[in-house]
């Protein structure tokens, strides 16, 4: 009796103990979780079957739900590989821009395509996001307000971007023989 009370039983369990109910019926009423807490309880064959059925019923539901969730999670929440920030402007940049302008802005005079204004929010967004997806290099937030005409976008995309820090560039460049740079990063 002392062992049972030491388990931290529920109020219902205590009532059963006080009423003097035989242990077999006590254990068959308890939930599956409390079984694992007590390793020393002596259980009869009949209550074991009840318990195993009860536990199996509980186990089936979470297993099924888990597999569904895992299947949904995997294709979406896997992190894609890190992109490098290096950008080298492609040689056909002008033609790509021109074709993009024609697609998004519809008809525009071929000689004037650099002067097309990007004032409208929709057109600007579709144009710049299209270019960013194509070239893998997006206009940063700080320079979005500078992009008023397609010519500004062309100038922006003509500038190459390197991912190296200043020290790496210095190390790679031609240094005089008495200059040594040790950079732990």
């Amino acid at each position: 009796m002392a062992a049972i009370s030491g388990l931290g039983v529920t109020r219902r369990g205590l009532a059963w103990i006080i009423a003097g109910v035989p242990r077999r019926e006590l254990w068959s009423r308890f939930s599956a979780s409390s079984f694992y807490r007590d390793d020393q309880s002596q259980s009869s064959a009949t209550s074991m079957e009840d318990r195993s059925q009860f536990m199996n019923r509980e186990e089936k539901k979470p297993v099924v739900a888990e597999t569904l969730e895992e299947v949904k999670k995997e294709p979406i929440l896997v992190c894609p590989p890190l992109r490098s920030r290096t950008y080298i402007p492609p040689k056909d940049l002008q033609s790509r821009l021109e074709s993009c302008v024609k697609e998004i802005f519809g008809s525009s005079a071929p000689s004037n395509w650099q002067n097309v204004s990007l004032e409208d929010g929709h057109l600007k967004f579709s144009f710049l996001s299209r270019l960013a997806d194509d070239l893998g290099h997006a206009v940063p937030n700080s320079r979005l307000h500078e992009m008023c005409r397609v010519r500004d976008v062309l100038d922006f995309y003509n500038v190459p971007v390197q991912d190296r820090c200043k020290f790496d560039e210095l190390i790679a460049s031609n240094l005089p023989p008495n200059v040594k740079i040790t950079w732990g990063y």
């Binding site: 979406i76 894609p80 929010g121 929709h122 967004f125 937030n141 700080s142 979005l144 307000h145």
Partner: protein, 294 residues
Amino acid sequence: MLQLLRAGARACLRPTGGRGLNALAEEAGQHLEKPESLARAGPQVPVLHKSDFPVPVHRRPVQAWVESLRGYEQERVGLAELHPDVFSTAPRLDILHQVAIWQKNFRRISYAKTKTRAEVRGGGRKPWPQKGSGRARHGSIRSPIWRGGGVAHGPRGPTSYYYMLPMKLRVQGLKVALTIKLAQDDLHIVDSLQLPTEDPQYLTELARYRRWGDSVLLVDLAHEDMPQNIVAATSRLKTFNLIPAVGLNVHSMLKHQTLILTLQTVAFLEEKLLWHDSRYTPLYPFHLPYCDFP
């Protein structure tokens, strides 16, 4: 539903006023999101945000991409226009310094206290007569030149370093901090802070993929409307902090490398910070009720 979408698309093609375009775009965007699954491709209605307040004639609004936290690749969901007087003011580093130091010091109470020669126990009697003993002349054994004596000019009691900067200066400090965050590419605007999971690792990987930096400050509008996933994720992370819009301050903005604002937060901040540009001096303090205080 399809009719609503078509109407929305038609209205979007026609350039309407600021609020109308914004509302229609958001509506159409919302109705598009619900029936479709998470992985969607193809043309979506972009989320365009326009500032609710008139922009001065000689200035153009600044812009920023509207991103989404729902997927790793959703980096350009829309375009937001930000008011230049809030997000593109002069970069007054002196004001920023003043406000940051004020934030650090105005709450400070130093409890250091030392005893003076009058408060140290003992030392009322002249230790030896003035003349004749051959030793230096002293009046008490607790004077500051004695070992065990009082401290001459030490800290005296709890001192408060409370002072208040003018309200407009603190407001300008916030505007300057936001300007600098945008100018240095550390500001990101998000349509909402909804995450697909409450796993904190998703948030850290997202920040690493988008190269946000080590510490991120997420700002939502109010505590009640914060989604459960983001609250759970940030509560388990040390360097990712979630605050309501009223808790935005210069020190936190400088301490965290990246600042993430939602569209609602941007509207709230613009309303609160721009009101001070054109207000009268108060006849009675602002903490008492006003009918037109924002």
